[in-house]
Symmetry: C2
Subunit: 334 residues, 2 copies
C-alpha cells in the first residue's frame, strides 16, 4: 500500500539470519568486544574471539569481567590468534579500533563466507560502508555503543558504566531501513545476555547523534589535554563544545538528519552528571595508540563536504588531531 | 588641494615633540624594552627604565646585551622600581606585555604630564586605543617590532636576531595618518642608535600584517605544543596556518586593509628559513606567564566582528587559548 516496489526489492536482497542458534565471532577482543562477547558466550552462544596478543592468556585463564558488583570469569574461551583457524560464523561483531579497518578485507570473508553478516560496533561514521565494500552492502548492520569499559590487563576487562547498544540496519547510502528481522534476531540474543538494546530505524541518525558528543569531547580532550569535567567547568571550553555541536548538527542536516536543540541540551546535562571521564580518544592518545580521527571527525566532515556544507571548526579540530596523532604515534619506539 | 578641512584640523591637534633632545622612558624593561632602551641610552639619550623586579641589579651591575658579536654593558642605568620616582619624559616606550595594560592608567600620566606621548611597542591590535583612553587619542604612536630576544637573567638580555621596528602614527579609529613629524623625530633617534626603522603611513595595516604571522604561529605553537619548524614540516599544521592566515586576511579586509597573497607567501618563505623558533606566546606559556591572547587573537576577532565578519577558526583558536591560559596560570603556586 503505497510502498515503493524498488525499495521493497532492495529490502528483499537483505541477507537473513536463518540458523536457529546464531554463531558469533568477535573481531577485536578489546574492552568492548571482550565484554559483549563474554556476555553472549555466558548464555551458551558459540562465540569465537579473534585477538592479536591475548590468545594464550584467554585460552589458559579465561576472560574476566570486573564490574561494580564483583568479578566473573568466562572459562573455555574460544580465542584465536589467526582468522584462518576460526570457524565460520553467522555474525561477526566488529569491535576493532577503526584505525584497523584496512584489515576488514582480510578478516571478514573467511569468517562470514557468502551469507554471514558484519555487525559494526565501531565509533564514528562510514564504518558500515567499509565493511560493505568487502561483503556487499546488504550484509552489514551497525550498532552505536554507549559503554565505559577498559581492558586493564590481558584477559581482564573493567566494565565501568553504561553499556547500551543502538542497533540499526545498513543499506545503500545509509538510507533508513526500518527495523529488519535480522536486527530483531541479534537484539534478542543480546537482550537474553543481559545487554541493553535499542532498535533504531535510521542508523545514520543514531551515528550523527553520537557524533554530537564524540566530536567535541573526544577531539577537545586530546587537543586541550583535558578530562570531560575540566571541559564542562570552563566557559571557553563550553563555548568550543557548543560551537562544535552546532557544526555536527549542520553536518547531520546536510545528510537530512535532525539533531534537535533539546537533544543537545540533554547530552550536555548528561555529561554534567558524569564522573570525570577520559574519552576513548584521550586514552588512545595517552597510550600512544593511533587516534580514530578519520572515523570520528574526518568521515563526518567529508560527508558534509560532499553535500556542499563546510564545517570550519570541525575542520580545524581535524587538522589539529592529525598533527598531534602523527607526532604522538611517530614518536613511539616500535 | 582637495584636502578635507576636518581631517587637517584633526591632524593639527597632534601633539608635537619640540624639545631639542627627547627624553625617553622604557615602561617594562623586558628583553624588548631593555634592548631598545639600552641602545638609545648608549647614544647619550636620557632613558629612564621602569622595572618591576630588576631595579637593584640594573643600578648596581648595569644592563648587558649579548648578541652574536659579543657583549656590551650599559652602566649607570637609570632604573626605577616605582613610576612616581621617575623624571617626566617626552616619549614613554611602552614595552609591557599587553596582559599588563590595565596598568597604563597608573603608569602613563605621571611620566608624560600633559604633553608627552606613548610609543606602543606591543603585540597585537588595539593597544594604541588603550593608551589613548588614558592620554587622549592624539598622544599615541605605535610600533610593530620584529625582534627575537630573551631576557636570560636580571640585567642580561640575549639579542638573538632581527630587531626592525615599523613606526606608525595613531589617530581616531586607526585611520591612516601618513608620516608625521613626531614619527620622524623618534625614527631619527632610533636610527642614530643603530636600530632599523621603517616608517609607515598606516599603522593598522602594519599591525594586521604582523598578525598574519602572530595569529597562526603564536596560537598554534601553544595549542599544539610545537615550535615553528614542526608546524612548517607537517601537512595538517600547514593547512591550519594557511586557514588562519586566510581569516586574518578577511579580518584585515573588514577593516579596509589588504594583505596580498604575495605578502602571505613571503611570510611563509621567511618562516621556512628561520631556525626552529619558540614563539613569544609559547615562551610565556612554558614560563607560566599569562598569554597575550586578547591582544593577538581577541582584539582582531572583535574588530572583525564589529564589522560583521565572523572568523570561526580564529574564534576556536581564541577559546582554546583562553582555556589553556586559565589552566596554566591558575595552576601556578603564587
Amino acid at each position: 500500500m503505497g510502498e515503493n516496489p524498488r525499495k521493497l526489492a532492495s529490502i528483499r536482497k537483505i541477507v537473513t539470519l536463518t540458523r536457529e542458534r546464531l554463531r558469533y565471532a568477535v573481531v577485536g577482543t578489546g574492552a568492548l568486544g571482550g565484554l559483549y562477547g563474554a556476555r553472549l558466550a555466558r548464555k551458551g552462544h558459540s562465540v569465537a574471539f579473534l585477538t592479536r596478543r591475548d590468545g594464550e592468556v584467554l585460552r589458559s585463564r579465561g576472560l574476566t569481567i570486573r564490574d561494580s558488583t564483583g568479578e566473573w570469569t568466562l572459562t573455555d574461551v574460544a580465542a584465536y590468534d589467526r582468522v584462518d583457524e576460526m570457524p565460520p560464523v553467522d555474525v561477526a561483531i566488529v569491535a576493532l579500533k577503526t584505525t584497523q579497518n584496512h584489515l576488514l578485507e582480510t578478516l571478514l570473508p573467511p569468517l562470514l563466507g557468502s551469507t554471514g553478516i558484519a555487525l559494526m560496533l565501531q565509533n564514528g561514521l562510514d564504518v558500515e560502508a567499509q565493511a560493505a565494500a568487502v561483503l556487499g552492502r546488504d550484509r552489514v548492520v551497525g550498532g552505536v555503543c554507549f559503554l565505559c569499559a577498559a581492558k586493564v590487563a590481558p584477559g581482564l576487562i573493567h566494565h565501568i558504566d553504561y553499556g547500551k547498544i543502538i542497533l540499526g540496519d545498513y543499506g545503500k547510502g545509509y538510507g533508513p531501513r526500518g527495523i529488519t528481522e535480522r536486527l530483531r534476531r541479534i537484539a534478542r540474543d543480546f537482550e537474553a545476555a543481559d545487554l541493553e538494546i535499542e532498535l533504531c530505524e535510521d542508523l545514520l541518525l543514531a551515528r550523527w547523534r553520537k557524533l554530537a558528543w564524540n566530536v567535541p569531547f573526544n577531539g577537545l580532550s586530546v587537543v586541550l589535554d583535558a578530562a570531560t569535567d575540566e571541559l564542562m567547568a570552563d566557559g571557553a571550553a563550553r563555548s568550543l563544545i557548543d560551537a562544535l555541536m552546532v557544526e555536527v548538527t549542520q553536518g547531520a542536516a546536510a545528510c537530512g538528519r535532525e539533531l534537535t536543540a533539546a537533544f543537545l541540551a540533554e547530552l550536555m546535562a548528561l555529561t554534567e552528571t558524569m564522573p570525570p571521564y577520559k574519552t576513548s580518544m584521550k586514552l588512545d592518545f595517552d597510550g600512544r595508540r593511533p587516534l580514530e580521527v578519520e572515523a570520528i571527525v574526518g568521515a563526518p566532515l567529508r560527508m558534509a563536504a560532499a553535500r556542499g556544507v563546510a564545517l570550519p571548526q570541525m575542520e580545524m579540530l581535524y587538522r589539529q588531531l592529525k598533527f598531534l596523532d602523527a607526532r604522538n604515534v611517530g614518536s613511539v619506539i616500535q
